[in-house]
Structure formats: structure tokens, C-alpha cells
């Protein structure tokens, strides 16, 4: 996983709530088996509208997406996270995220930044007025700064540590292999197995 410590960039305001993962990447694009190459599929149906924020020249190169409530609800498709990363986003700011999307983002080094609705609205106004305005997302001190806005956010401590170090979670878990084996020896014997079907 790519490390996340401090990120500087510009932001794009996506003034919509309930942006589900079917909008982030429509299902017909879940058709190739890599984690890369999904940038063009990002918001594919909304991008056909020339006025859509991704098509506006002043936001080209933005790496922080600022969205409305309940971003990433719906399907578990990790493609949604890959498409955002592939396009160039490193952080998504929203008042609330879909649970599975939030977990997927943390596993991939796309930082989900939860901020109050009022703060998100202020950020929308700031970056709309001045699209080149710099945004700093600092995971070392769990804060986001943009103009006069300085807001702190929370990331679960385990996930935060992994993001800061770029640690491979599987390798980390395998340190507990003895505990896993010992747990397995105590499982109920009547539990189902798939190989007997």
C-alpha cells in the first residue's frame, strides 16, 4: 500500500450527496482484472455532461475531492477506490462515507477525511472562489488545512498507523499465525466445509 503522510494539492468540489459506487464507477467498467487503468471510468456517466465538475478546466489536476453526505454508499466494489486513485485523487472529504468504501479506501491509501457538513460547505465555497487554492491533508496530525479552514479528522488508530508506515496488513496479520492456528484447533467440529459439497 502507498504511504500517506502529508499531502499538498488542489481540490475539486463535488456538490452532491449520496454519491453511490455505481456513480463513481458504473458497473459496465468492472471489466478488467487489474487495480490500475480505471481513470477514464471514474464518474463515466456524469462526465458525459460537459458542465460536470470533472470537465471544468479550473479543477484539472485536483487531488482532493470534496463531496456531500454519504459518499461511496452501495456496492462493495473496490474499483470505486481504484478509479479515484487512478484519476489522481489522494483524499476524499465528505461529512459521511459508506462503510465498505471507507474500509476499501484505507486499504489502498486513499484517505477518507470525515468533516462536519458546515466545514465541507465552507471548503466548497473556498475552492469554488479560488480553484488554485492549496489544500494540505496531514495524517501525521490528522488535520486538513485550506485557507482559514483548519479542521481535524479522525482515522482509526490501526489504519492510521498502517497508512503512515505503508505497512502490508497481511504481513502484519501473519505475525499472529500461531494464534490463528490455535484458534482453529478450538473451532466447533460440526462447522461446514465447502470441499465436501
Amino acid at each position: 500500500m502507498e504511504k500517506f503522510t502529508v499531502h499538498h494539492g488542489t481540490a475539486m468540489p463535488l456538490r452532491r450527496s449520496d454519491v453511490d459506487t455505481d456513480q463513481i464507477i458504473p458497473v459496465r467498467f468492472l471489466n478488467h482484472s487489474e487495480r490500475t487503468g480505471h481513470a477514464d471510468a471514474l464518474f463515466a456517466d456524469w462526465r458525459t455532461d460537459p458542465g460536470f465538475v470533472l470537465n471544468q478546466p479550473q479543477y484539472q489536476g485536483a487531488s482532493v475531492l470534496i463531496a456531500g453526505n454519504d459518499f461511496g454508499t452501495g456496492s462493495s466494489r473496490e474499483y470505486a477506490v481504484w478509479a479515484l486513485l487512478n484519476y489522481g485523487f489522494r483524499a476524499v472529504v465528505a461529512p459521511r462515507f459508506g462503510d465498505i468504501f471507507h474500509g476499501n479506501a484505507l486499504m489502498n491509501g486513499l484517505l477518507p477525511v470525515t468533516l462536519a457538513e458546515e466545514t465541507v460547505e465552507r471548503l466548497w465555497d473556498l475552492v469554488t472562489a479560488e480553484p488554485a487554492r492549496r489544500v494540505t491533508v496531514d495524517l501525521t496530525e490528522s488535520s486538513l488545512r485550506c485557507g482559514e479552514v483548519c479542521a481535524s479528522f479522525r482515522i482509526e488508530e490501526g489504519a492510521r498507523r498502517r497508512l503512515l508506515s505503508g505497512l502490508d496488513l497481511i504481513a502484519d496479520t501473519l505475525r499472529h499465525e500461531d494464534s490463528i492456528a490455535s484458534y482453529e484447533s478450538t473451532r466447533r467440529s460440526a462447522m461446514p466445509v465447502t470441499t465436501s459439497l
Binding site: R16, S17, D18, D20, D22, Q23, P26, V27, R28, L30, N31, S33, E34, R35, D45, G68, N69, D70, T73, G74, S75, S76, R77, E78, Y79, V81, R96, D99, I100, G103, N104, M107, N108, E117, E156, E157, G158, A159, R161, D168, L169, I170, T173, L174, H176, E177, S179, I180, Y183, E184, R187, R188, A190, M191, P192, V193, T194, T195, S196, L197
Partner: protein
Amino acid sequence: MGSTLAEKVWNAHVVHPGDSGEDLLYIDLHLLHEVNTPQAFDGLRTAGRRVRRPDLTLGTEDHNVPTIAVDKPIQDPVARRQSELMRKNCAEFGIPLLRVGDPQQGIVHVIGPELGLTRPGMTIVCCDSHTTTQGAFGALAFGIGTSQVEHVLATQTLAMKRPRDMAVTVGGPLRPGVTAKDLVLALIARIGTAGGQGHIVEYRGTAIDALSMEGRMTLCNMTVEAGSRAGMIAPDATTLEYLAGRPGMPRGAAWNAEAEHWTQLRSDPDAVFDKEVVLDGGAVSPYVSWGTNPAQSVPLDGLVPDPGDFATESERAAARHALDYMALTPGTAMRDVPVDSVFVGSCTNGRIEDLRAVAEVLRGRKVAEGVHLMIVPGSASVRRQAVAEGLADVFDRAGADFRAGAGCSMCAALNEDRLRPGERAASTNNRNFEGRQGRGSRTHIVSPAVAAATAVSGRLAAPDDL
């Protein structure tokens, strides 16, 4: 203070308590499908890792499979490539796979229970958000992403923080003609798409006790549409009756021991929930969605709402967007909304009881001129049973299109079954998102009975309207 059902199941699976809020949780059953998994297998190969417990892992082909000509190779090149990759990955890592054409193949959340793999007290994960379905058995079942799939394949565990507990108590009984689908739409309409966020929901109350396992699965299936991590129902006599005699199920004294263990899996009377919702099941009537998320639903007796009536600007904007996309005018009676197409199927409503409900409405009736009613069984076994019970004949005589193959079909719209742009459908699926059933598609989520009545009338309707 007592413990909740979710807490008990969680605690029984902690391999290693986390030092930063995350526990390492053992996974009893890991289900895979063909779309969200190739990257996980690539990850294993790159790191030189094996699958720890192929015997606790099962693959099925469901998301992109054709529902016609299932005995022939998949025609769509993308779907064919995904299936070939799934077959290669499962073979390489020793994971059993139910392919198209296998008598046990079907939608992952339909076959888990059917095959007796889904049992009370288990932890079950799958790279699909509707894994919540299987919580109907008192299992802790939830959807995960591809990176977590790789983690479970390699370690048979997940590192997770325990979600909070939420109780949804539904008094009842439900009125005749009102189903678990109507109940869950009414619930989501009330608490919103984030009403259960960060929580495991336990359903209880007399209306829940009276639901069949199929109804309970429908309810837990759509729990994720309220943002919840999982839905659970404590096992009872209905659960045991469904499970008895399923493949691989213990018999005799061993069955009695399991049954005894399962019936103890319930929240203690003094267990405390972080959040509680109480619903009067007797007041619920058939529900339909009008917008582009499942919370945007009203009773079938109701009207298309006016965006101006919503409390916040963000809700008003969302309602305006939704009505524009759905091409609906505020104040229109839901019953006056005509449809082009009706879809019955999916992990929400593709089980035998759902098909029986549809057949009951269609018996002696015809699908309206110009309406296409497609019925896709949730599994090969559901289809066989529908044929054996004579339901397939009823569908035929009514002019419905009862598909030969089982799968996600027009719920995922990953195979050739999809709506055309602007086409409007009543659908027994779980999501009415923009483009969910095909680019530009317009979906009204309904119960199987409402779907069937709508197919007959050509407009959104309940059986009593016919």
C-alpha cells in the same frame, strides 16, 4: 450488563484482540464471485502466498452469467474472460467453484443458505455488499472489498473494529399482502441510507418472529441499504426447520447438539444497544421507491413527493436530481406510473417463496400488452423447484419470460439483461441507483407481489388492485 447477539458472535471469533481498537476476527466462511476477486489472487501470487483454508472458501459464478443458453459457452467476451480467470484462480488455489451449469450454482447469497453452509453463529464474508442477507440465520455476515478478500484468503481472518449495536424492533403482525420487502423499504425510508451506518442491526419483535426464512433473508439483504454493516436475526424454530436436512448438516445427536447451541444465540434481556428503532409492522403497507436511492420510497398508496417538502437543502437537491432522472412529476399518484418492464429475481427476491408469490398473482392472468416480465431464479435449485411445483407453467401461460439460468441478471446488469436508456421498470432488486439496471434505466423497487400485479396492470399496482 448482558451482551448482544452480535457481540457474542464477534467475541467467539476473536483470534487476537487488537491493541488499537481492531480485533483480528476469524472467518468461518468466505464466498467468492467472479467480478471482484482477480486482483486478490494476483496479490497472493505476487507475494508468494497460499490460500490458508480452501475448505472454508467457495466460489460461484453469478454476477455476469447469462440467463439464456446456459448450456453454451458465455458469448460476451468480457464475461467469458472473467469466468475463465475465476476458474483458473480457483483451480490454482484449490478452491471449490460452482460453475454455470452446475446443479448447485446460483447467486452467492442464495446458495450459501440452500447448501447448508450458512449457519447460526458463524462469521461469513464475501466481496459483495449484500452478504448481509445471511445474517437472517443469526450469522455475522457482511460485505468486504477486494483487498480484504486477499487478506481473508491469506489468513482466514480480518482486522476490524467491532461495529456498534442497533436494535430494530417490529411489532406486528404485518397485514395480509404486506411482505418483508415492504417492511424494509418502510424502514429505510424512515431511517435513511445512513440510518444504520457503523452498526450491526438486530431485528426482533413479533413481526420478525412471524417471517419465513425467505422473508428474513430479504430483510437482512437490504439492511446494507440503510448503511448498516450487517443485519442479524436470532435463530429460532423457523431457522432450525429451514436448516434441518440441508447438505452437510449433522444428524441425530450431533444435530441436537448444534441445535441446542444455536438456540442459545440471542441477545441477553439486559443487553444494551447503542441505537434503537421501533416500528409498527401493522401500519406498513406495500412500498415502492420513487427516486434514485432506496430511502426515496413511499407507500404505493402515496404520491411522488414534492422536493420543496424536504427538511434540508441537501435533501431537496437530492430529490430534485432524482425526480429529474426518474422523469416523474411531484404529486403524481404512484399507481399512475406506467412501466415498460418488470424484473423478478436477485439476492433480495429470487428465492422459491418469491416465485410462489409471483405465480399466485399471475395464475389465470396475462402480462399487460407491451410489458416485459422477466423472472430469473436465484439458483439452479430454485428453478428446478419452480418447475416441479408447476410455477413455470403459470409463468408461461401468463406470458412471462422465465429464464433458464440463475444469477444476478438485471440487478447487477453485468450480463446482457439490462434496461435500455429511459426504460422504466418495477424491480424486486435492492438498488434504484442511476444506471443500476442499465445506462439511463429507471428503477422502482417493489416486492414480488407488487411486481407481478404491476406486470398485469402495466402500472404500479398491488394484487388487490387487479
